[in-house]
């Protein structure tokens, strides 16, 4: 029971409280870049969840069984970048061959995620938070879901904004950034919610 409670807490924390986009400000590039339409945003979100899970599944064993026993924990960042980039490329090749339809829908987003800092951030934070393999995977899933949630909410906001008529100086990116900050502030409201729900 305790285990499930802990896993649920990890998910809640990573989706709502420590949302990667709105609270840690990682992965802002796709957040602003592909959030113009809800279907594009959800496509990107799905691709991010997929890659985050894969990356964690690959990097956690490397860190635990290869780097740490040899005292090479400091190589983390460079090794993770290498592994994630190679992994995403490999997945793209495999998808293109065996699942062309999935490749068609994720295709544009996969290469974009290769160098996404949110993915790298998730894998590194899993290590610094001292999670075991299962907890790491759950945390990645939560972070991915949080990313998807932020993307979809923000895409909805932007679709409404398209119809608004802001002053000329605010058109385009400026008003988008203002809206992003307001959405981000809204998420600060979740601040103490997990600790009061699950205890410390």
């Amino acid at each position: 029971m305790e285990t499930y409670k802990l896993l649920l807490k990890i998910i809640m924390t990573s989706v709502l409280v420590n949302n990667y986009v709105l609270n840690k400000f990682l992965g802002i590039c796709p957040f602003l870049g592909v959030s113009k339409k809800i279907d594009q945003a959800s496509g990107m979100g799905a691709a991010v969840i997929f890659v985050m899970l894969l990356a964690t599944a690959a990097t956690w064993p490397i860190q635990t069984y290869l780097l740490e026993p040899n005292g090479m924990g400091y190589l983390q960042t460079i090794v993770f970048i290498l592994v994630i980039a190679a992994l995403v490329q490999f997945v793209e090749i495999v998808l293109k061959k065996f699942l062309p339809s999935l490749h068609g829908s994720l295709g544009v987003y996969l290469p974009l995620i290769t160098t996404n800092c949110a993915v790298l951030g998730v894998t590194i934070n899993n290590i610094t938070d001292g999670y075991n393999f299962l907890q790491s995977m759950v945390s990645s899933l939560g972070c991915g879901l949080g990313f998807l949630l932020a993307m979809v909410i923000f895409a909805g906001v932007r679709e409404r904004m398209e119809e608004a008529d802001p002053p000329k100086a605010f058109k385009g990116i400026p008003i988008t950034l203002v809206a992003a900050s307001i959405v981000s502030m809204a998420f600060y409201g979740f601040g103490g919610f997990v600790t009061s729900l699950f205890g410390e």
Partner: protein, 271 residues
């Protein structure tokens, strides 16, 4: 020392492994691409502008290679050069791309137009227009301060005698000037067109005469002389219906104030 060596070894081993896996994967799991599609894609400019109506250059190349009867002249930025290359690849007759050129629908230069006041503010049409609709008596006409020339990426617009002129050889039909002009005088015309009404004033003939010697007075001579029925006078201004116009130029000959102009508007990309 050994720590450094070990670190280098680990990173290079991981890199080498990843590289090998990718190389093997791309060799064994490569998807054969349609060769015509690849060759067509090389011809296209790669701007992914979507002017062709497809999702981008890749989409257009795919449609050309796989769907019979896809038109080869849809790439507007690439113009005739690209249309020709595509036609060569596909082995079909090349078609002319219909480019657009911008045209200023006013001929009230500083000789023809009468001024009402002297404007000494900042040199911008948008600013001048806000002050009683500009310094000229005609509030429909070209303000001549060159907002259009400033935005033109091709430097195709110059101000001559207080009126904007578009150099059709340089114009690529982007339409930035048309969006900028505060009086909405600039329109894009397909470059096969040769007759254009060079005035936008919608006031009655006598009023126009008092303001500008080359304004459309709505006399209707053009409409009566057009054998195709393409010219009509709407709101005291001659309007040409380009679906019916055959470029005969009769309206331009008959126009008493010479605001219907007959010229070659061909852009730079003609065969």
């Amino acid at each position: 020392m050994s720590a450094i060596v070990l670190a280098i070894l680990i990173v290079s081993a991981i890199g080498l492994f990843a590289g090998l896996v990718l190389a093997v994967a791309s060799h064994f799991m490569s998807v054969p691409k349609n060769e015509t599609e690849v060759r067509i894609r090389e011809c296209l400019p790669g701007a992914n502008c979507g002017a062709c109506g497809f999702t981008g250059c890749d989409g257009y190349a795919k449609a050309l290679a796989e769907v019979d009867g896809t038109k080869t002249n849809l790439c507007v930025p690439g113009a005739d050069a690209v249309a020709k290359k595509i036609a060569d690849v596909l082995g079909v007759e090349a078609e002319d791309v219909i480019e657009q050129v911008a045209f200023v629908r006013c001929s009230g230069d500083c000789i023809n137009r009468k001024d009402r006041h002297i404007y000494e503010g900042i040199k911008s049409c948008a600013a001048a227009q806000m002050l009683y609709g500009g310094s000229g008596m005609c509030t429909y006409g070209c303000l001549g301060l060159g907002d259009c020339a400033k935005v033109c990426p091709q430097s195709a617009i110059c101000i001559e005698n207080g009126i904007a002129h578009v150099d059709t050889r340089k114009c690529v039909g982007c339409g930035l000037c048309a969006k900028t002009c505060p009086n909405h005088l600039i329109d894009l015309f397909p470059d096969v067109r040769q007759v254009v009404v060079c005035c936008s004033n919608k006031e009655k003939g006598a009023v126009v005469r008092a303001k500008c010697s080359s304004g459309c007075i709505g006399c209707g001579l053009c409409a009566r002389n057009c054998e195709q029925g393409a010219v009509s006078v709407v709101n005291n201004l001659a309007v040409i219906d380009y679906d019916k116009c055959v470029n005969c130029g009769k309206c331009a000959e008959k126009c008493p104030v010479k605001v219907i102009k007959f010229a070659d508007f061909s852009g730079s990309h003609r065969f």
